[in-house]
């Protein structure tokens, strides 16, 4: 499409979850006539059921809009709808790097949240033009003036630069389109130079293989060209190239400034990495674009089929999900208690939840997920350093010189009345307060150093509950740090249940073991045997409880030869036991494997 660079605008939308990003995107698509009539459903760009239901964006969804500006010119607007959640921090940063401007959208009721600030800083790092937008001004509880002041504090903008919008009613959207044209700078770059494009996302298409979502910074790439990816030093022939409407639109080429896609034919999405640079084999650029890293999983959990028959199904499902999700890692794992399964690595808690939910929902699997874990760095007495992400695989205490655990910088924004409880739950989880600052008269930003292992357990849920849902959280990996950590084993009827093993601070081991035993006692139903539950560090038993066996339980008279009733009853009870895993002679419900999540500190 022959359009002058001066008439191109590449932008994204930054918003906290539920602040209306996807609805605003819908309005932009509608008002530019990009999506019409029957295609118009709520949250057009969120294609997964899960994205619509949870109101979150998981994958990037770029789309090109044509817009006739008030100045009579014809503009090409490329919107890159980005994932909004902290887990996808790196993906967000690459999407921002593909843009020249960002709409900073804040809910008129809720005001600025932690993710807003983090993504804003990220946008400022990339020198993006920021357009402040207050959304949902149609709501009765909207406080646009208050939020405007937050904006002014935050980015130092002029009050009249702030756009008042209702994505729901469409109010303020025409003004917003004009502001995009006026304030987002046009892309720079020479279409004739050596090609250099940034991969900001990738998907797997069963027909054309891995498809790279690309922002061209220099030069032109055509269909049939031989391309090279820097990160993996791989070469491909461009099978298809083009731009985005709701579907992919094939084109002959993609030039500097444009946003589009390149079908590589690669069989594995992991070779087409987000952040990598694409260039031509024959006319390569000398340097890749900055900012490329391979993201590493932060949170690990064992996934096991309740029914061993579903093992192959789980393997296949993980392989399929990985086609489209380069950040999901897994390896085969065997647990004495749970049988064959997989240790999976996730970017964060939301990522983990999403994967688990998709496995159960889209692939109809019945899973047991073990307690989320982190990657520990161990210095052994031999001087060797090893990484352990499964507590059950921690070597004997006598072999370990020191254990280092990942520490994150957590940033909490909360209304001031909850500062006390927020600090309390953070300290209870071994957090160290770093900073406290008032964002405005009502809201406070608190920074903590906190072990990721504590954060992944229940910190977010607790935070939401002590702040009545008002606090927001963002976190970022900082460092590994030595602490006095021990492995706490749980024994059921004398057998160690590897899936219940956890790593805790030595000082907390006793109270933790006691509470865990009590919680397990509540969660493991009575059975025909007495079930002894013990918590131990090494050979030292710290706590012990017993689930008493059933008492009198005789109901079946099979009177008059009615055997059916009894059998049907047993079959029905079996349905209810679907989430029970038999460990030795004890039936343990799925919730028990997450008992740690429910322990009160």
């Amino acid at each position: 499409m022959a359009i002058d660079l001066q008439q191109m605008r590449n932008f994204c939308i930054i918003a906290h979850i539920d602040h209306g990003k996807s609805t605003l995107a819908d309005r932009l698509l509608e008002q530019t006539g990009t999506v019409m009539g029957k295609d118009l459903q709520a949250q057009v760009l969120d294609s997964m059921d899960l994205e619509r239901e949870r109101g979150i964006t998981i994958k990037s969804h770029p789309i090109r809009m044509m817009y006739d500006g008030a100045d009579g010119r014809h503009y090409m607007l490329n919107l890159i709808d980005t994932p909004g959640h902290v887990d996808f921090h790196y993906e967000v940063s690459r999407s921002l790097a593909a843009c020249e401007g960002a709409l900073l959208v804040v809910d008129a009721v809720q005001g600025v949240q932690a993710q807003t600030i983090n993504n804003l800083y990220l946008a400022l790092e990339h020198d993006l033009a920021i357009i402040p937008v207050i959304n949902k001004i149609d709501l009765p509880a909207a406080r646009p003036d208050f939020v405007a002041e937050q904006f002014i504090d935050l980015i130092g903008c002029d009050p009249d630069e702030i756009l008042m919008v209702s994505a729901k009613t469409g109010q303020g959207v025409p003004e917003l389109l004009e502001a995009i044209v006026a304030q987002v700078p046009p892309p720079q770059g020479d279409p004739e130079a050596v090609p250099q494009g940034l991969i900001f996302d990738s998907i797997f298409d069963p027909y054309v293989g891995a498809v790279a979502y690309v922002r061209m910074f220099q030069g032109t790439i055509c269909k049939g060209d031989r391309i090279r990816l820097f990160g993996h030093d791989q070469q491909f022939e461009v099978g298809e190239i083009g731009w985005f409407r709701l579907a992919r639109m094939a084109e002959k080429s993609l030039s500097a400034g444009e946003v589009g896609y390149i079908a590589t034919g690669a069989k594995d999405v992991r070779t087409v990495r987000v952040g990598d640079t694409v260039t031509l084999v024959d006319r390569p650029c000398s340097e890749p674009l900055p900012g490329y890293t391979v993201v590493k999983p932060m949170v690990f959990s064992g996934l096991y089929p309740v029914d061993n028959d579903q093992y192959d199904g789980l393997l296949e499902a993980l392989q399929k999900l990985q086609l489209n999700d380069a950040s999901l890692t897994w390896e085969k794992e065997t647990s004495a208690a749970l049988g064959f399964g997989f240790r999976c690595g996730f970017l964060g808690l939301l990522h983990m939840e999403i994967i688990q939910e998709r496995l159960e929902r889209e692939y109809d699997l019945n899973l047991i997920a073990t307690l989320p874990n982190v990657e520990y760095e161990l210095l052994l007495k031999t001087g060797e350093t090893v990484l352990v992400e499964n507590p059950a695989l921690l070597p004997d205490e006598r072999e370990i010189q020191e254990i280092r655990e990942p520490i994150v910088l957590a940033e909490v924004i909360t209304p001031k009345e909850f500062v006390g409880p927020v600090i309390q739950i953070s300290l209870e989880r071994r957090g160290v307060q770093r900073k406290m600052e008032y964002l405005d008269i009502e809201r406070v930003k608190l920074d903590f150093d906190i072990p990721l292992s504590e954060l992944v357990v229940d910190y977010y849920d607790k935070l939401k509950s002590v702040t009545k849902g008002y606090a927001s959280l963002d976190y970022e990996y900082d460092r590994h740090q030595v602490d006095d950590l021990v492995r706490l084993n749980i024994l059921i009827n004398g057998d160690e249940v590897d899936a219940l093993t956890c790593i805790v601070h030595r000082e907390n081991a006793y109270s933790w073991g006691l509470k865990l035993c009590q919680k397990l006692k509540e969660l493991i139903p009575r059975q025909m045997y007495a079930v002894a539950i013990q918590a131990a560090v090494g050979t030292r038993v710290l706590a012990r409880t017993t689930v008493k066996p059933y008492r009198k339980n005789v109901t079946a008279k099979c009177y008059g030869g009615d055997i059916t009733r009894k059998r049907k009853l047993l079959e029905k009870q079996k349905e209810g036991k679907k989430r029970m895993k038999q460990v030795g002679s004890v039936e343990i419900p799925q919730e028990a494997f997450l008992a740690v999540l429910k322990v009160e500190r």
């Binding site: 045997y529 066996p549 008059g560 047993l570």
Partner: protein
């Protein structure tokens, strides 16, 4: 007293069959009962019922020719209810002639009828004897007025005693039921059982009271009018009764059933052994090896179907291999012979249950102990879960 000896294990086992006839009438409704029964009936209705059952047998026989084949012989018949003893003697004779009389039988057929104490008179007993009934099962429940009142039984202890005496005088084989529930104490129970043994009762069924939704008992318990003894007391009653009966040579042979050697209910034992049986009457169940059926429980729809010359619309329960395996395990588990270890699901470790005294392992079988019988539901549930997981199908 004549005793019918137990037949040799091989004799006719393959070809024997049972017959169950459900008599849905009661003089009054006991507060704990949840079976198909009605207290509203008159002579006309009872007559129509008898004719309908006879008609049902004819229709079933037409639908399944092997039922009438001389190779398949009835070895047992059981009239349950409801209260079979509320049927007029001539109606009972007609009922048995039209059903039992129409099928090939073994020479030593066991024919049991349930009777409630107030209707078991000498006249009735003699009439039953001449109609072919050779075993009577009396719903005693207790020989104590207070306990009987708590259970909502209409008879008093005196009537119950007289009924036992009559039964033992008139019938070669007498069985009686007890309920271990509210008001029952250890001393009272053991004394009552001793009394019954002395009278000549050779077979006892001991039931722990079950509270079924929708019964008067459930309302009474919910309202606090009846207080159930704690589980531990009911357990102690069961174990004490078991030991007590054993001391008289009355052995346990099934979770709820106790009998002198050779006096076991052959009919009921065939249920645990998965022998075929025909069920007639409203709410009756039948079994053909791969299929179970249940007649509709309500009397009026049952009568209407048969009046129209049709079999009542029974609920069918076809058994696949998995269901059959599950059945044979849970049914064998009820008996003192127990379950052959080979039938148990792969991966089942019998060690912990043996160590905790729930069962013993003998002759390649897993046999529940008294404590184990008290937890049979839980044990069944556990084994059923394993049978399911093992996917033997």
């Amino acid at each position: 007293m004549t005793r019918i000896r137990q037949r040799g294990p091989a004799a006719g086992r393959e070809r024997a069959a049972g017959l169950y006839i459900h008599v849905p009438f009661c003089a009054s409704i006991c507060s704990y009962c949840h079976f198909a029964r009605t207290a509203e009936h008159d002579a006309g209705l009872r007559r129509r019922y008898v004719r309908a059952v006879v008609q049902e047998l004819e229709l079933r026989r037409r639908a399944c020719p092997s039922l009438g084949s001389p190779g398949r012989r009835l070895a047992t018949c059981y009239l349950g209810g409801g209260t079979p003893s509320v049927l007029e003697p001539d109606l009972m004779t007609e009922l048995l002639a039209g059903t039992l009389g129409a099928l090939p039988r073994t020479g030593d057929i066991e024919v049991t009828a349930e009777a409630n104490p107030e209707s078991l008179t000498t006249d009735l007993a003699r009439s039953w004897r001449s109609a072919g009934i050779n075993r009577v099962s009396v719903g005693i429940q207790s020989l104590d007025d207070r306990v009987l009142r708590l259970l909502g039984r209409s008879c008093d202890a005196g009537t119950a005693r007289r009924a036992l005496q009559t039964a033992c005088r008139e019938f070669p084989r007498v069985a009686a039921d007890w309920i271990l529930g509210p008001g029952m104490t250890r001393g009272r129970l053991l004394a009552e059982l001793t009394e019954a043994v002395d009278l000549g009762v050779e077979h006892f069924s001991l039931y722990l009271l079950e509270i079924h939704p929708g019964t008067g008992m459930q309302q009474a318990v919910a309202a606090g009018r009846v207080v159930l003894p704690p589980d531990s007391e009911q357990e102690a009653l069961y174990l004490a009764a078991r030991e007590h009966l054993e001391s008289f040579g009355v052995h346990q042979y099934e979770v709820a059933n106790f009998a002198r050697e050779g006096a076991e209910s052959r009919h009921n034992r065939n249920y645990w052994r998965r022998m075929p049986y025909l069920g007639l009457g409203p709410g009756a169940h039948g079994f053909y090896g791969k299929l179970r059926y249940a007649n509709p429980g309500l009397l009026q729809p049952y009568l209407r179907s048969l009046a129209a010359g049709e079999l009542p619309a029974a609920t069918l329960d076809p058994l696949d291999l998995r269901a059959r395996r599950l059945e044979r395990v849970i049914l064998a588990l009820r008996t003192v012979q127990g379950v052959p270890v080979a039938w148990l699901p792969a991966g089942f470790d019998p060690g912990p249950g043996r160590d905790q005294g729930l069962w013993r392992l003998a002759d390649g079988r897993l046999q529940l102990t008294g404590r184990g019988f008290l937890r049979i539901d839980t044990i069944e549930e556990f084994l059923a879960g394993m049978v399911e997981r093992a996917r033997c199908g």
